[in-house]
Amino acid sequence: MTAYVIRRLLQALPVFLGSTFLIYTMVFALPGDPILALFGDKTPTPEQLAALQERFHLDQPFLARYFIYLGDLLQGNLGTTFSGQSVNEILARTFPNTLRLALLAILIQLVFGVAFGLIAGLRKGGFFDHATLLVSLVLISMPVFVLAFVAQYFFGIQLGWFRPTVGPGAPWSDLILPAIVLSALNFAFVLRLTRASVIETRQQDFVRMAAGKGLSSRRIIPVHVLRNSLIPVTTNLAADFGILIVGATVTEGIFNVPGVGAELFKAIRRHDSPEVVSIVTILVVIYVLVNLGIDLLYGVLDPRIRYVK
């Protein structure tokens, strides 16, 4: 296990360096004046230009600038927005809300996705199976902002079951509707993956063996079928998390959840490139770390994976 952990850590390091370098390069190595590019469609004053040139160390060679930037990043200094706010402060203020929303969404997607997928897989070809496949197909086809508006309109405005927008300091109950919207796409993926995995696992020899030695299905299904079917679901959590990041940006923006996603959403719409780049970098770093964590978890769940090179 230790060798596996060390190998994964060593593999994550180039990915971390590479992805931050890539973002940095995209911003600073593209044709044209990078400082002007940061301003998008706005025109900076000479003072702003000079200040930014100083702040981004444009007098240094390119690679040196990258390492300065990386040093800042590792020390947790994420820069400031156009309006002079510190990105650190923005993140500190907004991150707890995003965490609450994301936890709720992950909980919904896993609980309902696995439960529905299990039932659909056990009753393959039945009514429930067909119904959930159809629903998951519809959910996969609807871009998250479409789903968000539809949910906001029907459940928030027409039926009035939920508050259509969330404000600062909102209780958990207000986050339910955005969390459902955010989890919908992943719910569909988890459901389908669990279903396929359950169908496959049920045909495995160890399940037949368990049935053959007389175990009841009340024991076979949770212990032998479900546990082994959850391995692909766990592996896929990394991909789910990528969807969650993009989804949170749109969902928080639409439902006005005061989180990191909403901040990014507003920054994109304001064309505040420094803030966009800072937040995207942070999200990518979190994504890399979560991927690493999921890989390590995978090694714990499925010992075979530790020995595959």
């Binding site: 990915v15 590479g18 197909l137 086809s141 309109y153 749109v250 994109i268 490139s273 780049v277």
Partner: protein, 319 residues
């Protein structure tokens, strides 16, 4: 056995081949239909109603994209009158008007080609990059494989919509269909490359590849004539679903305000963004382009699922 040779009789300890029914195993059926992966897939697919439903939708979407004027005579952007702002349906304007007083139906029809072009360009780009990189990595192996796959890991570590957001924020001044397609496709290729690589690794073990190399065919040529055609099926599957993903990504970027400029391109994402403030008063302006977007995405996902069931025997077992 010819009659010239003397027939030697031997005592038999087992039944004649014909008697035991084993002859049927070796028999060659003369009238058997030709069969390969693609023919089998086609036979499977054409029996399934889902295939025809999605195909009809896609053909219809392509026709709308190519010939929008067959479906509407109203220009999408020029004849907008604020007096019509958020107006209901009128004769000739079946879906009413946007906040700016433009015809909703016409904007949806003219937006089709934007969505479809971005989808197709991104798909072509990801196939091209993914196939070339995945094939070289899988077939040549060694340090090239490690290098290409580590680069792929790096690109894979950035969710492609976020990467596209950054690129589009930088290229704010010159946003067009090509820039947005490049921005999406440039980060979407690693999954295609990974899938092709693992498939190439599998096919590389086959006897026909060894035969081809033993006969002295150059490695690159073997790769393109023997390995690639036999490992391309999973790429087709992932690309059909990827096309739907690219359409969604374009709409999402336009919705976020870093997609295509509103005044030049008709984009459903833009229309949805423009209508969001009037969700309470005039929800249909938002719902109609959403339906168009979802139906288009659904058509390609359905097609992808049908194609996957037909090409991937494992998926068929689960069906």
């Amino acid at each position: 056995m010819s009659s010239k040779n003397p027939v030697r009789t031997m005592p038999r300890y087992v039944a004649e081949v014909d008697e035991g029914g084993l002859g049927a195993v070796d028999a060659v059926r003369i009238g058997e239909r030709k069969s390969n992966l693609w023919l089998d897939a086609w036979r499977d697919v054409r029996r399934r109603p889902m295939f025809w439903i999605s195909a009809i939708f896609i053909v219809f979407i392509v026709i709308v994209a190519l010939f929008p004027t067959l479906f509407t005579q109203v220009p999408p952007n020029d004849e907008c009158f604020l007096s019509n702002s958020n107006g209901g349906p009128q004769p000739g304007h079946p879906l009413g008007f946007t906040l700016q007083g433009c015809d909703v139906y016409s904007r949806i029809i003219h937006g089709t080609s934007t969505s479809l072009s971005v989808g197709l360009i991104v798909t072509a780009l990801t196939i091209l990059m993914g196939v070339v990189i995945g094939a070289f990595a899988g077939y040549f192996g060694g340090w090239l494989d490690s290098l290409l796959m580590r680069v792929g890991d790096i690109f894979f570590a950035i969710p492609y919509v976020l990467a596209a957001v950054v690129i589009m924020s930088i290229f704010l001044k010159d946003r067009n269909i090509w820039v947005i397609s490049l921005a999406i496709g440039f980060f979407a290729w690693p999954s295609t490359a990974r899938i092709l690589r693992s498939e190439v690794l599998r096919v590389r073990q086959s006897d026909f590849v060894m035969a081809s190399e033993a006969l002295g065919l150059k490695k690159v040529r073997t790769m393109f004539t023997h390995v690639m055609p036999n490992s391309i099926a999973p790429v087709i599957i992932i690309s059909t679903i990827g096309l739907a993903g690219a359409i969604t990504a374009e709409a999402t970027l336009s919705f976020l305000g870093v997609g295509l400029p509103n005044n030049i391109y008709m984009s459903w994402g833009n229309d949805i963004a423009a209508a969001q403030n009037d969700l309470r008063t005039n929800p249909m302006t938002l719902i109609y382009p959403s339906i168009a977007l979802s139906v288009t995405v659904l058509s390609f996902i359905l097609l992808g699922e049908v194609v996957r069931d037909a090409l991937d025997p494992k998926a068929r077992a689960v069906r």
